[in-house]
């Protein structure tokens, strides 16, 4: 079975729910681990990487949590499938570029995903919908405790878990959440928030991690420091900050509706207008307009429309997903046309946004 058949369909993925999922799209905790006696993947020659893989892969596959898993060497995955995995946030761009000597193991629920020989021997991540950092930490902690019985981890009494990059040293943990923050962007408060989050030693990144743009008003917030602080403290600290960002986003949305309703309705109405009527549209524009549509759903401007419709479109309008639906290789412009066809089709049943009189919009439905 190929990986795309194995994974949940975009429809199923978009229907997953979790606490605060109106703003927090997903939570993730990643641990970096290495074994003794094998050079780190970036420095090891191919033969050594393969030797490492032969130790690591059976250990990961043997996990009880991976009893129904998909496991494949990266050189056996077609480029298009790797790109789809990136678009689903299951692997990093760096891992997608790997070939022989690297592998991927992901469980059926897509709640656990292990990259073997990415930058470190093991990059294991637990994923949860909505804000569930503690649950994600507990899950990955368990997996790690199982693996340490089988693998001889590179661990130093003072420096903790040894990692290829000194920035991950110690706990090797990266706790992160993907946030949808259109309110803060429209209210022009986002830079202020980013700066204050930075001051707390936390990083804010774009949609696909390090060095990427915040497309569709989606931001990733994560810890930067990994040494000198225990895992549970890092999780707790990030959780607190996220709850505050959620509050700021909610406040920004309420403020916009009260003080600048026309501006908000204009943005959302135009977004709908373009998405539902365009005949050629780029992936970037689509994401930014879908973000506004999602905000419209949250604000009750699209009665009867579920957020999962928008979230599904977020996934399937991305380049690799679009390409996968068509047998022949598509040029970027052909994709833009097919994307617009798909959007017009999927939005046919969605009526144009209907703003209610101000004051009746404070509470979003179902919250």
């Amino acid at each position: 079975m190929d990986i795309i058949e194995f994974l949940a369909t975009p429809t199923e993925t978009a229907r997953r729910t979790g606490p605060h999922d109106r703003i927090v799209m997903s939570s993730r905790v990643r641990l970096a681990r290495n074994v003794r006696g094998v050079a780190f993947p970036g420095w090891a020659k191919k033969a050594e990487r393969i030797r490492g893989l032969d130790i690591l892969r059976p250990a990961v596959e043997g996990l009880q949590q991976m009893s129904r898993a998909f496991s494949e060497s990266m050189d056996n995955l077609p480029a298009i499938d790797k790109q789809i995995l990136v678009e689903r946030h299951l692997i990093s761009r760096e891992h997608a570029a790997k070939s022989a000597g690297s592998a991927l193991v992901v469980n059926k629920e897509e709640s656990l995903c292990v990259m073997i020989n990415e930058e470190d021997h093991l990059r294991m991540q637990a994923l949860r919908p909505g804000l569930q950092l503690k649950q994600a930490w507990q899950a990955i902690d368990q997996v790690d405790s199982e693996l340490e019985k089988k693998l001889d981890y590179a661990f130093h009494a003072d420096l903790g878990y040894l990692t290829a990059c000194p920035t991950n040293l110690g706990t090797g943990i990266r706790v992160s959440a993907m946030l949808h923050l259109p309110g803060l962007v429209l209210a022009e408060q986002i830079n202020q928030i980013i700066q204050s989050v930075n001051k707390l030693g936390l990083a804010v990144r774009g949609l696909y991690g390090e060095g990427t743009e915040a497309l569709g008003n989606v931001f990733q917030v994560s810890n930067q420091m990994t040494l000198g602080e225990a895992e549970t403290d890092i999780v707790e600290r990030l959780n607190k900050v996220l709850l505050q960002i959620i509050e700021h986003e909610e406040n920004a949305r309420a403020m916009l509706l009260e003080k600048k309703p026309k501006m908000v309705f204009n943005h959302i109405g135009r977004a709908y207008g373009i998405l539902a009527n365009a005949h050629c549209i780029t992936s970037k524009e689509t994401m930014n307009l879908l973000s506004l549509t999602r905000l419209g759903v949250d604000m009750g401007l699209f009665p009867g429309v579920d957020r999962s419709l928008v979230d599904e479109l977020f996934i399937i309008t991305q380049p690799a997903h679009l390409q996968k639906m068509h047998a022949e290789k598509l040029a970027a412009e052909e994709r833009d046309v097919l994307r617009s066809d798909m959007l017009r089709d999927r939005l046919r049943a969605v009526r144009r946004p209907t703003p209610k009189p101000p004051g009746s919009l404070d509470k979003a439905p179902g919250q």
Partner: protein
């Protein structure tokens, strides 16, 4: 003021970030800022940037002209400068000294306070107990309490055996 990356053009962009109670500054020219992705503040993380240029520089300064090389994997300081990554776990012993100040600027502390593999926790406990027993033994011997000393010696022997098993 010159750009910190290329050290050729005038720095036009100046960033400040506060981490803990330390202030860090980065000065960049427009070209380097662009190539590092700094022009878009939402996609920009100071740590990533600092790692690229600050890390290697800091290591260079602390290590002087001495060129260290990892005996295990052959990784050198020049390699670190290029990649910002280590070669293998053993490198951390080789580059311990130059790394220290880098770690200080990068992290909350320089000592790991989080999770420890269970097997190591066990051997740590054993090592602690061994130390305590050896002290007791010394006392017993100096007090000429040979009966206790003999019992302690047996206990120590068992723990030493266990220790050699867990660390093997």
């Amino acid at each position: 003021m010159l750009c910190m990356v290329c050290k050729q053009n005038d720095a036009k962009l100046h960033f400040t970030q506060i981490v803990g109670d330390e202030m860090r500054k980065v000065d960049l020219c427009e070209d380097c800022a662009k190539s590092k992705g700094v022009s878009d503040p939402t996609a920009f993380s100071m740590a990533d940037l600092l790692l690229g240029l600050g890390a290697a520089k800091e290591m260079e300064e602390t290590a002087g002209s001495e060129d260290l090389k990892c005996p295990q994997c052959g990784f050198t300081q020049a390699d670190f400068k290029k990649s910002g990554r280590m070669g293998c776990a053993e490198c951390y012993a080789t580059f311990a000294e130059p790394l220290e100040s880098l770690l200080k600027s990068m992290h909350k502390g320089t000592r790991h306070t989080g999770k420890v593999p269970a097997a190591l926790v066990k051997s740590r406990d054993l090592a602690d107990r061994l130390k305590a027993l050896q002290k007791k033994l010394e006392k017993a011997v100096s007090a000429e309490n040979f009966e206790d000393a003999a019992a302690l010696r047996d206990e120590i022997k068992v723990i030493k055996e266990k220790l050699s098993q867990t660390t093997a």
